[in-house]
Symmetry: C2
Subunit: 337 residues, 2 copies
DNA sequence: TGTTTTTATGGGATCGTTCCCATGCCTTTA
DNA sequence: TAAAGGCATGGGAACGATCCCATAAAAACA
């Protein structure tokens, strides 16, 4: 079933059918009715591939994320979807599993599909190697608007939507400093990723502003992506060493979960023996009332803002480069208020 | 840049370039080399739209889910992606927000995009109304393989991958019965959805098999999708009534979270004052050790199985209709073991 | 009433592939 | 040495839309 068939059934030419389907002006109301009746009767939908070939664009938006599982990226997708659902754009989703190889392949797929724009959380673009270089190069030559989500790229030329990692870490650490703690640790993720380094930077800055020295023995780094089990083990080791900080900054939700599992098992009481503040809400906090202060990143808003920014670039390609910082909310437990 | 341009640069015809790109036999090795050199040099990728139009299929797979947020559907997407990532298929994602209107629109989009197959979790197809009828009708006329995920449709003609809702609810309830409890309640979700009714059926069946009467005052129903806050309120009311069951079956994770929030706040001790068993793991259970028995649905496996089943239908369209039941694992807390 | 302008419609080229068919060359075989 | 077969290659129609241009009919104006 093509517009030719519809045209034949309605007794008009395919040009007229095309005009009717695209709401062109200069179509007689009676003709429009006649055509639409046939279209509805036959439940006709024009082929997106033929339209795309002819129009030279596809009305699709490519979304590249490291993963879909878990609620952070899930909610980003949710936010993107809620924004795009009332536009003509369809989502093409590629998950890279944090592998540069898959990220490159995803970009090739999007190129092949001639997507109108790209939303990207790169897991590789920040490194200094061939793959990372190729990713940035491909993006540059792509010639469609790109919005980076949550992670920037080296010498980024693109729009971006980020959570306020550095400021967030700063205010979180500041909350500890204001309480007068001096032995402050940090359990953070890989600093070769922008997200890890920004958070560490905020932490360091806060210490420095309050003239508190960094205690190397309380700085623990976890590779990306972190596994809760690894964090749990390292936490147990820290406790076994007998030397605990008074307070600690936890770099992300997985680290927080692993750390709490460790201290709870060893009988360390949070909010008394140690004060914890970190990134990301964990569901369990809402259910039981263990002291834990955290920065709530609004991941759905991250997705919404990114999608809206892309839509803006799509309708106004010459617009200036934009960066959005999505503020996180600091939730302080009662022992830190 | 098209295959014509590549052909000109390589000094061959576009037919030959097409043959090279599609790994056809009967191409001279030297010619193949010559063409590939130009292709690599120009970083050429053929247009998916032109290929699709010519071949009459698009190598895309449509995924329709109620939502992407949260870990259940996120992990389903994750499983689908991991299965499809090494195939030529690309994922077209549509989230319906549990609205029939959007589900119908999603199906139209997939029709327009000429997807090769569909993975669908319908939030409406089970009802007896015009929208639900239209959804089933559209699927029937679509003429591509369809695999339903987690929720069946009325008089389903399609492949499906389901978690063992009925059996799961049965064995969960049985665990309570084996402990000798007689006052057993259930907090379940909307029974007009297949998932809700299956679970309720399993619960009822277990009671009946053990000759325990159903106590209507302990059967609470929550609309779909449930909000934790609503569950929390209803739980508080139940507690206020002063009449609590000895044990309760909780229909899903949101219900479990809301219920626990309620009882913990009112000082009811789980595993002592009341025994709870339900569907879906909650992260907090792994961190603190409150007694809660649950069925762990393997949502990633659900996605993987569905995608694999679709791939099978795609390579062998005449195959028989298949249904897969993905077993859940019953995790019993120490008070029920 | 004749000329110009506006409006509605149809015809055909085009987008970038695939794939069938034709052609010519090289090899094999009687 | 001529006929038959296989192999590498090129030419052109087809896929199903869009969109420009031509044209006919209707409306506006002198």
């Amino acid at each position: 079933m093509t517009i030719r068939d519809i045209a034949a059934l309605a007794g008009v030419s395919k040009s007229t059918v095309s005009r009717v389907l695209n709401n062109s002006p200069n179509v007689d109301e009676k003709t429009r009715e006649k055509v639409m009746r046939v279209v509805r009767e036959k439940d006709f939908i024009p082929s997106a591939m033929a339209q795309g070939l002819s129009r030279q664009y596809a009305n699709t938006i490519g979304v590249i994320l490291p993963e879909a599982g878990g609620s952070f990226f899930g909610n980003i997708i949710q936010g993107i979807n809620e924004t795009l659902i009332n536009t003509p754009y369809t989502i093409l989703l590629c998950c890279t599993e944090n592998k540069a190889e898959y990220e490159i392949r995803a970009l090739d797929t999007l190129r092949q599909q001639k997507v109108s724009g790209i939303l990207l959380t790169s897991s590789s673009g920040f490194y200094e190697n061939d793959d990372a270089y190729k990713i940035r190069q491909t993006l540059e030559n792509f010639n469609v608007p790109v919005v980076l989500i949550d992670r920037t790229l080296k010498s980024s030329k693109w729009d971006g939507v980020y959570s306020d990692n550095s400021t967030g870490a700063y205010v979180a650490t500041e909350a500890l400093l204001k309480k007068g703690f001096k032995k402050i640790g940090a359990y953070i993720s890989d600093t070769s990723l922008s997200i890890g380094s920004s958070r560490y930077k905020g932490f360091i800055q806060a210490l420095s502003d309050y003239h508190i020295p960094i205690m190397e023995e309380f700085i623990i780094t976890e590779k990306y992506p972190a596994s809760m089990q690894d964090v749990y083990w390292k936490t147990c080791e820290l406790i076994k060493s007998g030397n605990l900080p008074e307070a600690i900054f936890l770099g992300n939700g997985i680290i927080a979960n692993g750390f709490y599992k460790g201290i709870l098992e060893k009988g360390i009481v949070p909010g008394k023996d140690i004060h914890c503040v970190g990134f990301d809400y964990s569901e369990f906090l809402d259910i039981i009332n263990l002291p834990y202060s955290y920065l709530e990143r609004n991941s759905k808003l991250l997705g919404e803002t990114a999608a809206n920014s892309l839509l803006k670039s799509l309708s106004n390609p010459s617009g200036l480069r934009q960066e959005y910082i999505i503020p996180s909310t600091l939730h302080l437990d009662k022992t830190l208020q």
